[in-house]
């Protein structure tokens, strides 16, 4: 990775107006604000129905200062392709096309179109902001809801299945760039976007997005919880550049530290995991430890 940005080196111009319709403490507000700064003004956005549709505002008012095409739920990536094709037909090679979809719009209903665009190698950046559920429709489970999370349609037992590993699916498309980021580490997100802009083909970003109403915590603790997910080794920040995997930012530092915060702290900070038993948490801890033992070994 090249030069690391600081909060002072970010562009001062805001591309998202303040006072959006997002919930108090929304993790997406942070990722979107910083993400657009990295993308810059010469960008066309594609957004399917999701929390971001709400954040963007109601006609005739818009909170984003970039051109944006709202599209049907399943068609974010295909729409990005359509815009790219038009730019290409016009000989415009400078404008960036970026899709911003939620986890349902990516891992479930939008996966086919995303896979199609990635296989074709269409040159755009796809952002999946993963708040781990259909939060905009009232917190239902999605493909990326983690095991154990209570949602509106996994009301008592919590979700029984594993989280779908979308970045791994996208990496299997042999992309030039795949990144896992978090709203709690906006500078890591910013630098990764900047670093991938010149890479060819489809670039995929997965962003972990703490969600106060969906996850059940006081809005002021969003960053803390996002960081806990990383510090516990539960959610990793990484990038895969032309097939080369490497941990980044706080996750990279964990390699040196050789010490993870117990994942129990992450689970117990949110009400959605309230039915997870100690034994289940121990099992998850074991899986995390095994994953990190693999990282440590690679580092040796």
């Amino acid at each position: 990775m090249q030069a690391k940005s600081t909060i002072l080196s970010l562009p001062t111009e805001e591309l998202v107006h303040p006072g959006t319709r997002a919930c108090t403490g929304c993790g997406l507000s942070i990722a979107y604000r910083v993400g657009l700064k990295a993308l810059g003004k010469d960008t066309i956005l594609v957004v399917p129905p999701s929390c971001l549709t709400v954040l963007q505002g109601l006609f005739p008012v818009a909170s984003t200062k970039l051109p944006c095409l709202n599209v049907t739920f399943a068609s974010t990536a295909a729409a990005a392709t359509g815009i790219l094709a038009t730019l290409k037909a016009r000989g415009n090679e400078h404008t960036t096309v970026a899709g911003w979809a939620g986890d349902g719009g990516t891992s479930d209903i939008g996966l086919q179109a995303l896979s199609g665009a990635a296989e074709r190698g269409d040159n755009f950046i796809y952002f999946c902001y993963d708040n781990e559920g259909y939060m905009n429709t009232g917190v239902q489970r999605s493909g990326t809801t983690p095991i154990g999370a209570i949602t509106a349609n996994t009301p008592f037992k919590g979700k029984l299945q594993q989280k779908k590993d979308v970045p791994a699916i996208m990496a299997a498309h042999h992309l030039s760039y795949v990144a896992a980021c978090s709203a709690a580490y906006p500078l890591d997100l910013y630098d990764k976007i900047k670093n991938c802009l010149a890479l060819p083909g489809t670039k995929y970003f997965h962003i972990h997005i703490p969600c106060p109403p969906g996850w059940g915590y006081d809005p002021r603790y969003g960053i803390k919880i996002g960081r806990l997910a990383v510090e516990t080794g539960y959610y990793d920040l990484y990038e895969i550049v032309n097939g080369e995997f490497r941990l980044t930012a706080a996750s990279e530092k964990l390699i040196e530290k050789r010490k993870l915060v117990p994942v129990r702290e992450y689970f117990r900070a949110q009400s959605r995991f309230r039915t997870l038993t100690d034994a289940q948490i121990d099992d998850i801890q074991k899986t995390i430890d095994e994953k990190w033992a693999g990282y440590y070994k690679k580092d040796e």
Binding site: K41, D42, T43, I44, V46, T53, V54, Q56, G57, L58, F59, P60, V61, A62, T64, K65, L66, P67, C68, L69, N70, V71, T72, A74, S75, A77, A78, A79, A80, T81, G82, I83, A85, T86, L87, K88, A89, R90, T95, Q112, A113, S115, G116, E119, R120
Partner: protein, 399 residues
């Protein structure tokens, strides 16, 4: 220049002449030869366009929607279940007022699976806010594609150009290939009022409230209902624009036709058979036979199905004793959709005049069932004698 080609090639040549910028398609029989041809033109450099081989029909129209929003002239084509799979996007394209042109190569829809021709696919998209035009031969296919782009871009409404699978798509016929310079004269480059542009950012298709709302300048902006009402009004006005398209086209290419209806031996007819697409040309053979028998019958093809040319249809049928609507689709649970629409037009224009014709409905060729001209003639002969049935009757059915 006259050439001999199949119907799909006629459509492809039309798209090429229209200089579409972005083409997206997913293969489905019997549409495939059309989009294969376009991919050839693009790969060989005969056509300067982006060809996107998408992974589904839903994405095919998504690409066209986005391309059109970004200012491109976009094209796709599909059939049957491919069109049904697009349905959400079909509605989106008209709601977003994008002048996309799509060929629908008519085919039966599942279940059960059937790859042969009927018109259930496009008829089932009747209420989506698209302009729908039906073709009866190859000349009409290529000419309609060209007219469709002009019309679509004039009124900012997408157009479906429908033609029967196999019967037209895979048969070879001679037709006049329009000269490129004339097409360029007819169809100027697409220049939308607004397209996605970082220098002039706008948020398109945002959530729109039930009621009108103030914009940042203090001016009232449309609510959802106003936007939808304008689509309806503009679709109705498009009937007039379609007439202009026909006039312009006739002026440049010399081929003159009524845009909405195609009557054959109707002037002195007491009975008129009505249909959409190639079956109306087949019925000309029946009409000739019945005329020889002394039955005063004609046939009228309906070219525009949406917006529905109600006035043109009603005035053409005024004073007739009987109307026989033969359809390759139906609104399950009632009758053919064209039947209902036609009766509604007759009621509107002829009720109380004492000259409302008897209207009968026949269903034919469903799932590619062969429509034998003898059967069709027999049906028209019987229907001309008087009302056969209140319910739609299926021609050639063996239950």
């Amino acid at each position: 220049m006259h050439i001999i080609e199949n119907g799909n090639a006629a459509a492809a040549l039309g798209v090429k002449l229209c200089r579409a910028n972005v083409i997206a398609a997913y293969p489905i029989t019997p549409q495939t030869p059309l989009t294969e041809k376009l991919s050839e033109y693009v790969e060989l450099g005969e056509m300067k366009a982006e060809y996107i081989p998408v992974e589904s029909e839903h994405s095919a129209l998504a690409v066209c929607i986005a391309a059109s929003s970004a200012g491109a002239r976009a094209f796709t084509a599909t059939s049957a279940n491919g069109l049904l799979y697009m349905h959400e996007q079909v509605q989106w394209a008209s709601g977003a007022r994008l002048p996309i042109v799509m060929c629908v190569v008519n085919r039966a829809v599942g279940a059960p699976w059937n790859v042969w021709n009927d018109q259930q696919d496009s008829i089932s998209q009747r209420d989506t806010g698209w302009i729908q035009i039906y073709c009866a031969d190859h000349q009409q296919i290529i000419d309609t594609v060209i007219k469709a782009y002009w019309l679509a871009e004039q009124v900012s409404i997408p157009v479906m150009v429908c033609y029967d699978g196999y019967i037209l798509s895979h048969t070879f016929m001679p037709f006049d290939l329009p000269e490129p310079e004339k097409v360029d004269a007819f169809l100027p480059p697409f220049k939308p009022d607004y397209f996605l542009n970082p220098l002039e950012p706008a948020n398109l298709n945002t959530v729109t409230l039930p009621d009108v709302r103030m914009d940042v300048r203090g001016e009232l902006a449309h609510g959802y209902m106003e936007i939808r009402c304008l689509l309806q009004e503009d679709l109705r006005k498009a009937l007039q624009t379609a007439g202009e398209a026909e006039k312009r086209f006739a002026g440049i290419f010399g081929r003159k036709a009524d845009p909405f209806i195609e009557p054959y031996r109707c002037d002195d007819a007491e009975h008129v058979a009505v249909g959409l697409g190639s079956i109306t040309y087949q019925m000309r053979v029946c009409v000739d036979q019945l005329r020889a028998e002394g039955i005063k019958i004609g046939v009228m093809g309906v070219r525009y199905y949406r917006p529905f040319p109600d006035e043109a249809i009603a005035s053409a049928l005024k004073g007739k004793k009987g109307v026989i609507v033969v359809e390759k689709a139906l609104s399950y649970g009632y009758e053919g959709a064209l039947m209902s629409d036609l009766k509604s037009a007759l009621y509107e224009y002829l009720a109380g005049t004492g000259s409302l014709p008897v209207v009968q409905n026949f269903i034919a060729g469903i799932g590619g069932r062969e429509i034998r001209t003898d059967d069709l003639t027999q049906t028209l002969r019987a229907a001309a004698k008087g009302r056969v049935s209140k319910e739609p009757l299926w021609i050639g059915l063996r239950l």
